[in-house]
């Protein structure tokens, strides 16, 4: 019997159980076999519906308290090239293109840089700008409070 993707994601989105046979426990909830669950999860990873399967750390608790969203106003003609270069920087953990909302919001490239201290983040940023010869406008938005952080829920 095929497992419904919706049901499977609903069952695992908050995490796998910490027991010797987690996939068997999920299978029980779904009235499927352990092997069917294993195959279905492997397919979701293969199809990139699951971007990664594993430990999701709380970086703030691990000392990475300086969390900066760095936004850039990059010329549209080179945004893909700069996006690829920024994404390849070890300090950058996310790199997305988003629309500008003029006149309020001129920035079209969004990156995240995490560090243990703000000074370290500014240092990384300075090095990245020099290395990539980025002279466009940018802004740095440090987070000062987290009101909510969890995986997206679909069901």
């Amino acid at each position: 019997m095929a497992i419904s993707t919706d049901q499977l994601i609903k069952t695992i989105q908050d995490g796998l159980p910490l027991c010797p046979r987690p996939y068997a426990q999920i299978a029980e909830q779904l009235e499927a076999t352990e092997q069917e669950v294993i195959d279905a999860i492997a397919d979701l990873v293969e199809d990139e519906v699951i971007k990664r399967l594993g430990v999701v750390v709380k970086h703030k608790k691990l000392g990475y308290v300086a969390n900066a969203m760095v936004v850039w106003n990059v010329d549209d003609s080179i945004v893909h090239e700069i996006g690829d270069k920024l994404a390849a920087e070890p300090a950058v953990t996310l790199c997305y293109q988003r629309p500008r909302r003029l006149p309020h919001w001129p920035y079209n490239l969004f990156t995240m840089i995490h560090g243990k201290e703000r000074q370290v983040v500014f240092g990384e940023l300075q090095e990245i700008r020099q290395r990539l010869k980025l002279d466009c406008d940018f802004d740095v938005l440090f987070s000062s409070k987290c009101f909510k952080q969890r995986g997206a829920r679909y069901f």
């Binding site: 995490g15 979701l44 699951i50 608790k61 790199c95 909302r101 938005l141």
Partner: protein, 154 residues
């Protein structure tokens, strides 16, 4: 305090978690630990709040519709507006940031219609106009979060 084994558990298994009948036994085999110690260590790291879960990081763009949203809210109203935003199941991240646009959150819904509805309701309740900033292109592959140079390279 975290020892070297804890660091390896936190770093090496952010992706590629074993998809086979006894994943913790497999990890134990790789690190030279019994299965039950792997489970106990993950449980402790989880209880200490260092791990939010062992599970999937889902691809929003294949499963639903999502957007980053920003609002400019007077500081004395921040907590009450944040509470309104958090009350939506569709909101998974919500941060205060140091900027004129100071409240930044991510809404993920099953349909574009529901996404619009949630954002519209939050605008109505907060009295602020939202910057709606959906992702247009992702340049970064999610390899997890790099915590330690040594655990990374060992």
């Amino acid at each position: 305090m975290l020892d070297e084994i804890d660091k390896k558990l936190l770093q090496h298994y952010q992706r590629g978690f074993p998809i086979l009948a006894r994943p913790y036994e497999e990890i134990g085999g790789q690190l030279g630990l019994p299965e039950n110690e792997v489970i106990e260590r993950f449980r402790r790291l989880s209880n200490e709040g260092l791990i939010s879960r062992i599970g999937p990081v889902l691809n929003h763009s294949l499963l639903g519709v999502s957007s980053l949203v920003a609002l400019a809210i007077p500081l004395d109203m921040i907590d009450s507006v944040a509470e309104i935003i958090n009350s939506y199941e569709e909101v998974n991240h919500n941060y205060l940031r140091e900027h004129y646009y100071n409240l930044w959150f991510v809404v993920t819904a099953r349909s574009a219609q529901r996404l619009d509805e949630v954002i519209r309701e939050i605008e109505d309740q907060s009295g602020a106009a939202a910057l709606i900033l959906p992702m247009e292109k992702n340049f970064h592959i999610d390899l997890g979060f790099k915590l330690w140079q040594s655990a990374q390279t060992s």
